[in-house]
Symmetry: C2
Subunit: 116 residues, 2 copies
Amino acid sequence: MRETNRDIFQAIADPTRRAIITLVALQAMTPNAIAEHFDTSRQAVSKHLKVLTECELVKQEQSGREIYYTLQLNKMKEFDKWIAQFRKLWETRFNQLDDVLLTMSANKQTLKNKKK
Amino acid sequence: MRETNRDIFQAIADPTRRAIITLVALQAMTPNAIAEHFDTSRQAVSKHLKVLTECELVKQEQSGREIYYTLQLNKMKEFDKWIAQFRKLWETRFNQLDDVLLTMSANKQTLKNKKK
DNA sequence: TATATTTGCAACTAAATAGTTGCTTATTTT
DNA sequence: AAAATAAGCAACTATTTAGTTGCAAATATA
């Protein structure tokens, strides 16, 4: 397992990790508690948590012998930043295309009616 | 290589594929043209395009013997949908936490002053 | 203090992935 | 019609990844 320079895109590629992210977004949880939500073993979850920790998507908070994991929302923003460049496209260029298609469709109707 | 039900999050895990997405977001491109932008072979790019096509992030448009690939912005919206649940958190809960911290800090000041 | 619990770490296996090479098909150009 | 170009497909290799098993360290409980 690679330990440095792990990126968030690789981290969220795994569906179990995405589910873990959703879980710890709502409240801090221990590996055992997290594992109980899935069909995987504690060790498997632990490995996923390691990946998420390495890319700083989650943070550990020790409390006695338990370790609580919480989501680092700030890191999640990096994904949002990436998607933002495309959001710009579908909010401008794409809406314009939709308009064109709607207009064409409307014109078709008009033409059909005219043919009658 | 898996051919059905490919996951879009898995698709964007690869940095080359993300770069391809950025390229074809701006204009439709052929595999050869795309490959010229990278240090990889045409075949490697072709494989990435296959992955992106399978999960419908890009669409093919044949024109003679050339195939142009374009980004499917609608599919990209699914990423936005996923991140939206967390955006809600950092726009509300997180700001509230900021408020709490600010208030605590302000109260501390007040208490300090009262103690005098 | 002895035992139980929580967790991380290391070694291993099986499966998936990225990339290469060689080939075929279809279309364009000469 | 022949040669060149664009691109997909299949087989193969090397690397990465997810998951398992066993173990050690630290903390809590009886």
